[in-house]
């Protein structure tokens, strides 16, 4: 029982990270119907920029005096960096292709993904880059169960961001405009909504969330490396599809499910095949519910 609860906590932590990445996929898909394969690389870039700033602050010696401030600053700077990256990528590689066949944009996205992960490799080296480990030590002990302070940070920050995003999308005028753009771009233009701005905003928000996830992943596993974007990227994409792509609540749910499945599968069945379980659950769910758990019937969107 104890180990079950321990696994549950680990699952929620990992699931939260996946959910943050999945949101970027699902939001972008919702607005321009593109599987943004470069999103995993935004996540990796976030992890790298996070560690760059953290070590920079540590080098200046601020880390000992103001740890909270440094961490917050690193998060915010990484979020800004990734938003800047994502908006630029959209303008250069996706926007000119908006009227072309969807396969063309998809390939462009794959190209960007290859470019970015190799760019990271060339600038940061092929070896893993370690996160400062002394940041979060210890945790709360309840008998056999340990909740580390890091897990508490990850889960609470994730929850806060998810709530904030929900408020933004469902309660504000700009969120309304985002949903309207997703539904009908021509009509949005006719009521003075500039779809280009909304699309940039969507990319920016999605990448900023991915950056947070990247730093969390770095802190959680202690290091980052240049191709770390791929596997979490496709898992988060699975999570987005599992929840019903285009649906924000679905992406959060899907992220949690995939995280849980992975942790429990690794814990109770086999560690080597943990990546397989996520895909099997995905295929299983899609078999019975082809549009995902919360997905609406999308029109014939195909190649």
């Amino acid at each position: 029982m104890d180990s079950f609860i321990q696994q549950l906590i680990n699952g929620i932590t990992l699931g939260g990270i996946y959910a943050l990445i999945a949101l970027g996929y699902t939001m972008v898909y919702g607005v321009i119907q593109l599987i943004n394969f470069a999103h995993g690389e935004f996540f990796a870039a976030g992890g790298y920029v996070g560690v760059i700033f953290l070590s920079f602050f540590a080098g200046l010696g601020y880390m000992e005096t103001h740890p909270v401030l440094c961490l917050t600053a690193s998060f915010i700077l990484a979020m800004m960096y990734c938003a800047y990256l994502a908006i630029g990528v959209e303008k250069i590689a996706y926007k000119p292709l908006r009227k072309e066949a969807r396969l063309a944009v998809l390939l462009s996205a794959l190209g960007v993904s290859i470019f970015l992960s190799n760019g990271l490799m060339l600038t940061q080296g092929v070896y893993v880059k370690a996160y400062p480990s002394e940041l979060f030590q210890g945790g709360l002990n309840f008998g056999m169960i340990t909740i580390s302070y890091l897990q508490i940070l990850i889960v609470s920050l994730t929850a806060a961001l998810l709530v904030a995003l929900n408020l933004l999308v469902f309660k504000t005028k700009i969120g309304m405009a985002m949903r309207a753009t997703a539904q009908d771009k021509t009509m949005s233009a006719l009521v003075a909504i500039g779809s280009n701005n909304i699309i940039s905003l969507t990319f920016g928000i999605g990448a900023a969330l991915a950056a947070v996830a990247g730093i969390m992943m770095g802190l959680y596993y202690g290091s980052v490396n240049y191709d770390m974007g791929f596997v979490p990227g496709i898992k988060a994409f699975s999570a987005a599809v599992l929840g019903g792509i285009g649906n924000i609540t679905g992406a959060m749910l899907g992220g949690l499910i995939i995280g849980m499945v992975e942790i429990f599968g690794a814990g109770y069945i086999s560690g080597e095949y943990k990546d397989v379980f996520a895909f099997i659950i995905l295929i299983g769910v899609l078999y019975f519910k082809p549009t995902g758990i919360m997905g609406e019937n999308i029109d014939d969107t195909r190649v």
Binding site: A180, M187, A189, L190, V191
Partner: protein, 240 residues
Amino acid sequence: MSSEPILELKHVYSGYGSIKALRNVSLKVYPGEIVAIIGANGAGKSTTLMTICGIVPLEKGDVIYNGSSIKRIAPEKLPTLGLCQVPEGRRIFPRLTVEENLILGAFYRDDKPEIKRDIDHVYSLFPVLGERSRQQGGTLSGGEQQMLAIGRALMTKPKVLLLDEPSLGLAPIIIHQIFDIIADINKNQGTTILLVEQNANLALQAAARGYVLETGEITLEDKASSLLHNPEIRKAYLGE
């Protein structure tokens, strides 16, 4: 009626790729009037409106609004200048509530109390929308959707309203209701209206002047009442 047209198309050519949908279309709309464009299926009526709004690219010619050319202005800027379109098939946002649809009509405006007042005004024009304000747009009936689309357009505070086939697919009783509202908007708010209709009878009764569009060209221009009594028009468009 002042002598300066508020909206003018000068020798407009436009189309989709190699297909020319409009050829040398010129028309004028004066402030405060209702102008109807009638024509058969595929004559280019909707394309005319989409070209005015910049959605379909203009190839040649010019569109003058309020004394200046708008052919280089982005479509999403036009509603802020007071030029708004209710497109064919309504195109309300199906997964937003009625109220959210209306709020988005006022997307560019920042004056909260005034927006609130305008929403109430739309509800007073179309009481049924008020009853359904929390319902998703996609769940409304066709007539209600048309009302919502017109209401949403009114939220942009238009000087010129472009209406595309407001009668499409609606029951006669609803059509009359909607045309009454259109006349009311024109009379009480002084909004200029450019109306595109296949239902020529209805459109010419509502309008002051009319244009006949055939395969992308304007073939006739006259007062609505004379068009209504023109035997050729009666034969071609009024089924006599």
